[in-house]
């Protein structure tokens, strides 16, 4: 244990002596946590709308007014023909076109039905899908309004409809920030954990100091612990800073206890640090280690269920997500922060992450050689 004391002293001195590391460890995550959640908004706003109105009636005018007053759409183009309207889409001026036929008002009043045409620029699938859906919903509302006005009319019978009401549990206001911020925090802690630890060892390889370690009686597990513990502490500090920001800036306070999150995070970090150490035993240069950990964390992050639900991934991708430690921490984070889950509720997650921790660290220790073949 005396040996470990010297290793830790040395490591902490080096870490805190490097001015860049404080910026990277504390200022970068802070900025990311302030900026990213605003970008990771699932609502689509400011959809650019083009209208081709062949009718020029009171009804068509009211309808366009209703659409633009919803706040989701901006009327950017008003063309006399569909062809011209399409040009606006091609030049990226608008995202979708609503075409109102010539006899819209007459048909609506006389025949009680009329057809509208909507064309959507589907390059951005999310925007197209949501934009189309919003528009349909607004048109549906508009349709209902007209019918309510006409309800006295004996010819009209109100359409029987099934009304579905839903109540959103755990995140009643559907606040996407409460959903995203804890997840982004997981990514930050993961990236700092894995890539920093791996870069640190590879740096010793590049400097040649690792040879001096290898020729000393330091045991492999001592060396690995000497690298793991400092970054474990740093990553937990970043987690703490993250929680402070989440509370001060976004007002997010876990429904469950911080203790549950930290208990899980402690094991989780051993797992991702183990992964970082493992990568470092293979990489020879910091460049290699950076690229590999960039690649790995990219896959881990995108397949973690942070941005997209794992349930909607294809079967094979769900399997990858299952072998991704990040997935479990994001689940735990959301369970504890939004639902108030306790240690008992996340016991399966704990066992799985213990498995990861054992697996990566054993592999790292086995693969770290003080003597080469």
């Amino acid at each position: 244990m005396r040996m470990l004391k010297f290793l830790l002293q040395k490591e902490l001195k080096q870490i805190f002596r490097d001015p860049a590391i404080i910026i990277i460890l504390f200022i970068m995550p802070t900025i990311q946590l302030l900026i990213l959640p605003a970008a990771a908004d699932y609502e689509i706003k400011n959809i650019n709308l083009g209208v081709v109105d062949h009718d020029h009636s009171e009804y068509s005018r009211k309808m366009v007014e209703k659409i633009t007053s919803s706040g989701y759409f901006r009327l950017r183009d008003y063309s006399p023909s569909f062809k011209q309207g399409l040009k606006a889409i091609e030049t990226d001026k608008t995202d979708l076109i609503l075409e109102i036929p010539a006899n819209f008002e007459r048909d609506l009043v006389k025949d009680n039905e009329s057809t509208l045409f909507v064309a959507v620029d589907a390059i951005n699938g999310v925007k197209a899908g949501l934009g189309g859906a919003y528009l349909q919903q607004i048109l549906g509302d508009y349709n209902n309004e007209i019918r309510t006005q006409w309800i006295q009319n004996p010819r009209m019978s109100p359409q029987p409809t099934i009304d579905v009401t839903s109540s959103d549990w755990y995140n009643p206001n559907m606040n996407y920030k409460a959903f995203m911020v804890p997840g982004i925090l997981v990514l930050l802690v993961t990236m700092i954990g894995s890539s920093f630890a791996s870069n640190n060892i590879v740096r010793e390889k590049e400097m040649g100091t690792i040879e001096q370690i290898n020729v000393s009686p330091i045991k492999k597990y001592q060396f690995i612990l000497g690298k793991l513990i400092p970054f474990w502490i740093l990553a937990l500090s970043v987690l703490t800073i993250g929680f402070i920001i989440a509370r001060l800036v976004y007002g997010i306070v876990p429904v469950g206890s911080y203790f549950t999150v930290y208990a899980f995070a402690s094991i989780y970090l051993v797992a991702v640090l183990g992964l970082g150490l493992l990568l470092s035993t293979y990489a020879q240069t910091q460049q290699q280690s950076m690229l590999v950990s960039f690649f790995v964390t990219m896959i881990f992050n995108l397949m973690s269920g942070l941005y997209t639900p794992i349930e909607s991934m294809p079967g094979w991708a769900q399997w990858i997500a299952r072998f991704n430690p990040v997935t479990y921490f994001i689940q735990v984070m959301r369970m504890v922060v939004l639902k108030g889950s306790s240690l008992g509720d996340i016991r399966v997650h704990i066992f799985i992450i213990l498995g990861f921790a054992l697996f990566f660290n054993t592999w790292a220790i086995l693969n770290y050689r003080k003597r080469t073949g």
Partner: protein
């Protein structure tokens, strides 16, 4: 009277694929000796040294260092040796005192011993007042002297020095050899590789490696006599010209 042998090597060989880096080298080093290990670039000096230090697994042959087997007992060997690699390997972002403390600590020195050693070492190297200087800021010659002193901070039986004076000015080189003699006087066996033939003459015995083989091994005086040369430089040139391998 046979002296105690601290290094023995018999037919020690290292192959990398088809390439034989070190070919059946056989030699002994006696306790307290300054043993020079010469050879052109790429002759296999560093490879041989790394095998003896337990950093590289030999392919075949036998060798012991401080009485321990280089195949099976590398961890015991590591407790008994010091090593200064070709690449400067102190922590540049730690201070002089911190480096001494760290390396003393990982070799199991007690706190009092570390303190004592630090004071002694700083005095010996005339680094007074520089304890808190980052090693990065020291001139190369000082760095090398410090690295050597730290390599023997735990009083090992043997210290391996891989081209310790590379790139260092003649004055500092002389001072460096002063440190080597002092360590040798304390009973530490010195195993040193070098390119400088004047340094070879400071050694008790030298071996000259050519293409992975040891082609000559004797005292500098005997070697000069055998090769009817006026200096070690000439001996070295005569032997090194036979090399087929090109330097790195």
């Amino acid at each position: 009277m046979a002296k105690e042998k601290v290094i023995t090597a018999h037919d020690l060989t290292k192959r990398f694929g088809d390439f034989v880096a070190v070919s059946k080298i056989t030699f002994d080093v006696e306790k307290g000796e300054i043993f020079g290990f010469l050879g052109a670039n790429g002759a296999g000096k560093t490879t041989a040294m790394r095998m003896l230090c337990g950093l590289l697994m030999p392919t075949s042959g036998q060798a012991t260092v401080a009485g321990f087997d280089v195949f099976k007992q590398t961890e015991q060997i590591k407790k008994n040796i010091g090593y200064m690699s070709q690449k400067f390997s102190l922590y540049e972002d730690l201070t002089v005192a911190e480096n001494i403390r760290f390396y003393g600590g990982i070799y199991g020195l007690r706190d009092e011993a570390i303190k004592e050693k630090s004071a002694q070492l700083i005095k010996q190297l005339h680094l007074d007042g520089q304890e808190k200087t980052l090693v990065r800021a020291l001139p190369l010659g000082w760095k090398q002297k410090l690295a050597f002193s730290i390599a023997i901070v735990h009083d090992p039986a043997i210290v391996f020095l891989d081209e310790p004076t590379g790139g260092v000015d003649p004055v500092t080189r002389r001072e460096f050899w002063g440190l080597i003699y002092e360590a040798s006087a304390r009973g530490i066996t010195i195993f040193v590789t070098t390119h400088y033939m004047d340094e070879a003459e400071y050694c008790n015995r030298v071996s000259i490696m050519v293409d992975g083989r040891i082609d000559a091994l004797d005292t500098p005086a005997n070697l000069m006599k055998d090769y009817s040369a006026a200096s070690m430089d000439e001996v070295f040139l005569q032997l090194a010209r036979k090399a087929i391998r090109s330097g790195d």
